[in-house]
Amino acid sequence: MKSNTKNQITREEIEHIAWLAHIELTEEEKKIFTEQFNRILDFFEKINEVDTEQVPPTYHVLGIINVERQDEVGESLPQDETLKNAPKKEDGFFKSPRIV
């Protein structure tokens, strides 16, 4: 079995990635995730055994490219329906937190 020296992810890297994904983690979770992620990434190394030279990637199994339709106006939801699930709203707008 391969040793897990190849791709050790550090706690600092996990903090950085979690920040990119906009997910706050507790100190305890950072510790647990670091250990779990290293085991999972180690398992992911398995695909490196496959020779994929000259093999194209498959993004999608159907091979459909560019589905088009007539540019016609269809039904859309009224404003109150659209805002119905928003936790905070004001004067017909979604209310966002402070940006700057």
Partner: protein
Amino acid sequence: MPRHYQISALEATWLIRNQELSCEEYILSIFERIDKTEGKIHAFITLLREQALEKAREVDKLVKKREGQGILSGIPIAIKDVICTNGVRTTCSSRMLKDYVPPYDATVVRKLNSEGAIIVGKTNMDEFAMGSTTETSFFGPTRNPWDLNKVPGGSSGGSAAAVIAEDVPLALGSDTGGSIRCPASYCSVVGLKPTYGLVSRYGLISYANSLEQIGPFARTVEDCALLLTIISGHDDKDSTSANLSSKDYVSLLKEDDVNGLRIGVPHEFFGEGVDDDVKDTVWEAILKLESLGCTYDEVSVSSVSYALAAYYIIAMSEASSNLARYDGLRFGFRQERDEGDWATVYAKNRKEGFGAEVRRRIILGTYALSAGYYDQYYLKALKVRTILRRDFERALKEFDVLIGPTMPVLPFGIGEKIDDPLTLYMCDVLTVPANITGYPAMSIPCGFKNNLPVGMQIMGKPFDEETVLRVAHLFEQNTDHNLRRPNL
């Protein structure tokens, strides 16, 4: 004489149409049954008693007037809570969406409604369909009706449990890496993941959009075929929907040409990590099919050993993108007070709104897509996907279907594996190839070990669901595993 709640969907359609069964009595019987079982198994998140009974009375009126009846007129069905229902909360078993009420119906729900089906409730699942045990639900786990201390499988555990508990004859689930077939196997019901593109995903809340499909659960292959007939077909609202003419899978079942049908048995499906009990039971089933006129031969699909890693890389990458929409602003969980700047508020909403497994997959997916790792993980996994597709295409040139176990191990205990994500991922090893390739695959009951069900997986060629269903039907007609019921 079976009780009303026990009859099959197909039989119930005849009885209702011929006024031999009042739809109101039928639906009352269904809710009596749910009242009896729900406290034990917790299959549902939301029940729609009043709405369902009202609709049942309307069906009875229409039947008397002999008008306006759909194919599923008066038939009760449960819907996995990842599929949007207009005006009925759709939670994905997540705190993030616990109060989310969709303002529209998924295409499959619209089709069911227009055929007269009666939605009795929304079923429990793993949060955002990420899991194979139904333990990660914000609303608490579903229990396996065969042994209440065991998991029912997942992520569509509520749908499968409700069907075998005789709460409903039909249910819908979704399958991204085995989420229909795994609980079908663990609960001893019939469950089918259709070919990618056969069923519209419009209104299915996305987890990994290039892998997942909505599909049917039932207690008989015939009922499964009936539900597939209703939900399949092209939809303009899903750009990945295949443009094919629709089929009547129930009448296709009756075409009697299973003789000489070629079964391929990939020996990788019986490899390391698969329990001997499971192997033996599935082999017995294959020999049974041989005795019924099929032929079989072993085949190798060697790239299967890379499927699981490739699957998780692709699924997590897609999840990180699909779940970026949950910011707590337009819908979803938002903290009472906004503390800090926009990015901080967003990160706090997502911390509180998502459970651990969802956060794990989003963060790992973000990692796999990030600069410096994209080629190594995501792109590499997509190339492995090409190799897998070629391998299965080759195997299915020689054979009509491929057969093996659905799950490598028997249903295990609630709490037994949940703290060890990687061990849990390993349980998906036999189901993920169908999602990576897009091919159809179903699980049917094929026996019991230690009073726990074993499921057999039948994989077919793309858009050849009828052959998969026909093999399943042949087996079911000549065995009695599907007639066993748990004591509830």
